[in-house]
Symmetry: C2
Subunit: 391 residues, 2 copies
Amino acid sequence: MTQAVRHDSMRARNLEVVLGEVSRGGPLTRAAVAERTGLTKSTVSKLVGDLVDAGILAESGLTRAGERGRPGVEVVLSGNRVASLGLEINVGYLAVCLLDLAGEVRLTLRLARDNRGSAPDEVLAELQVLAAEALDEADRLGFTLAGAGLAVSGPVGDGLLLSAPHLGWQDVRPGEMLDLPVPVELDNEANFAALGEVWFGAGELDFLYVSGEVGIGAGLVLDGALFRGAHGLAGELGHVVVSPDGPPCRCGGRGCLEAYAGQEALLAAAGGPATIADLVALVKGGDQRAELACAEAGRALGLALASAVNLLDLDRIVLGGIFAPLFGWLSGPAEQILRERLGRLRGSVPTVTSSRLGASAATLGAAGRVVHRVIAEPGPFLAAHREAREA
Amino acid sequence: MTQAVRHDSMRARNLEVVLGEVSRGGPLTRAAVAERTGLTKSTVSKLVGDLVDAGILAESGLTRAGERGRPGVEVVLSGNRVASLGLEINVGYLAVCLLDLAGEVRLTLRLARDNRGSAPDEVLAELQVLAAEALDEADRLGFTLAGAGLAVSGPVGDGLLLSAPHLGWQDVRPGEMLDLPVPVELDNEANFAALGEVWFGAGELDFLYVSGEVGIGAGLVLDGALFRGAHGLAGELGHVVVSPDGPPCRCGGRGCLEAYAGQEALLAAAGGPATIADLVALVKGGDQRAELACAEAGRALGLALASAVNLLDLDRIVLGGIFAPLFGWLSGPAEQILRERLGRLRGSVPTVTSSRLGASAATLGAAGRVVHRVIAEPGPFLAAHREAREA
């Protein structure tokens, strides 16, 4: 290792340590940061100066007596200068949010739109309009954009949407079709929604987030981080076997969970209401066929979740997407199956709860990932900031 | 952090760095270690001296021209002074192995014994006899024992064997019932066997190890480490749902994989041979009923694995335990199901291979975990060594 490389990597590491202390424990004076990190006060002052300069930290305006007797100015994460964009293409809507570095949502836009069978460039042009509105707002507020995340309803590997069967898309790179001033990180909506739950929902760090939509996906969160599998395709709960000779599924198999509890199967079993909102109205009105359809879907969900718990040893399951508004009619039958199949072996069954975020989970997770990366590893953002200013 | 605490933690960290370089890249001279780690030569000399003194490193006897022009003596992991013990209680046998720090097996002992319905203290007394033989051998060879690992056929949490249904045990602490001069680490045999495969088998770092015995367990290895779940109970592949209304299972559910492909179900379906060796003889002789039973078990295995791959995104599956000798009759039907259910969605299906280690995987993994921990984190072993010598 050369001296210069060692110095750069030490600086990067120290930036992470300093920003980590302030983001977890702030507001803090520079002296308190030095005390907590074991770094010298002059090193801390230099690093805090750079972070304030780039808009990541801000002086809170408060002063307090420092640990060594001198009053010091406290610094906190700045909510006014750096932001990120969360974007989502779902089967039934497009959505965008603007999130600041302190975790406040500054703007949300949502456009109901039936994207089934639409060409990618057509859908992306619509999303671009929403994104442009969010960029204008970011500009107006004086934010520097740190990045963007785009949630899509299909498996993603290395920036490529492998397939979105309900949209009819295959091998599309929607992130590259947008005209944005920052790179776009693409991921599956269940993955982003699971991260949204970690950061903006109940705050749990270990759970399986189940995203019920036309398809059914899941995001497995372990110690606050996503489990992605060998190719980023983990969490395909929709194709877990419920019954090996059940109805055919678009994956080529039979009796997958999606064939019982996916949106289309569920609406058909309920006698054909047009939307989930209509189905909710039916079950609220006591419609027996609709109630039975939800109970059947709940039992199928329970069987797939029993397999998932046996493999993954989960304590907590969060039901999101269409399962959130139907929670009252699905969760009882699902939990009954979990008790029957897991109780004797494990002594306990996982908690099943409804997502607090509903349909905004994925955009929050997409924008949140950018914000969390800047905080966990501020070096690249600082370097880009320096370059932009020198240019 | 006080000065002393900081010094100790820095020393521990530097020990890890130095030993890591030698274990990955050795034999190395002290000068080469200093060059690679960025530590000073005097620090490296002191740390290497302590590691040689404790028997973790040894001078190889070779010298070579050092990077700075001076010839230096090379050091390597020592295979002659520190060892660990691997122990296993399975339904049909007891086993012990003695493993040195350089990864050589110095002794293996195996006793066929039907442990079904045996009282824990009776089985542990038998295991103690085997362990004592291994301890004598370690003594004779001049080894210091660094620790022991004990593999058991049931779910384990915090040193407690929660249940071993095929033995009829519940809430037993077998590690504490042994009289050994070192602490015993308890874990599920599928977990230890999976680690055995990483260190002594095909050397893959990402796979699902499937342990077929009377029960069916699995150890999920991710980047060379075990995935354990919320309570260490992950990998219960035997209770993944194959068919929701299938034959009853001892877990309280119906149609679990174990009810189709566990040893007892398999032998019964094959017309009742007494042992797996007898079943292997039947299929080798072309017995149709036995072949059909294996094919049915293979299809059930394929269905459970399809669910596992959908959830975990696995590239590789290793079949061990009774599935290894039956691999030729099970794997074809299992792979057929995997192709049908995974091919369209993923484009590829995971590789299915047979374990190379057979029945010794679990003891190797149990002993190997101790050895790998000493190498990854030598501080505690060095401290114990120093205390023992000062006493």
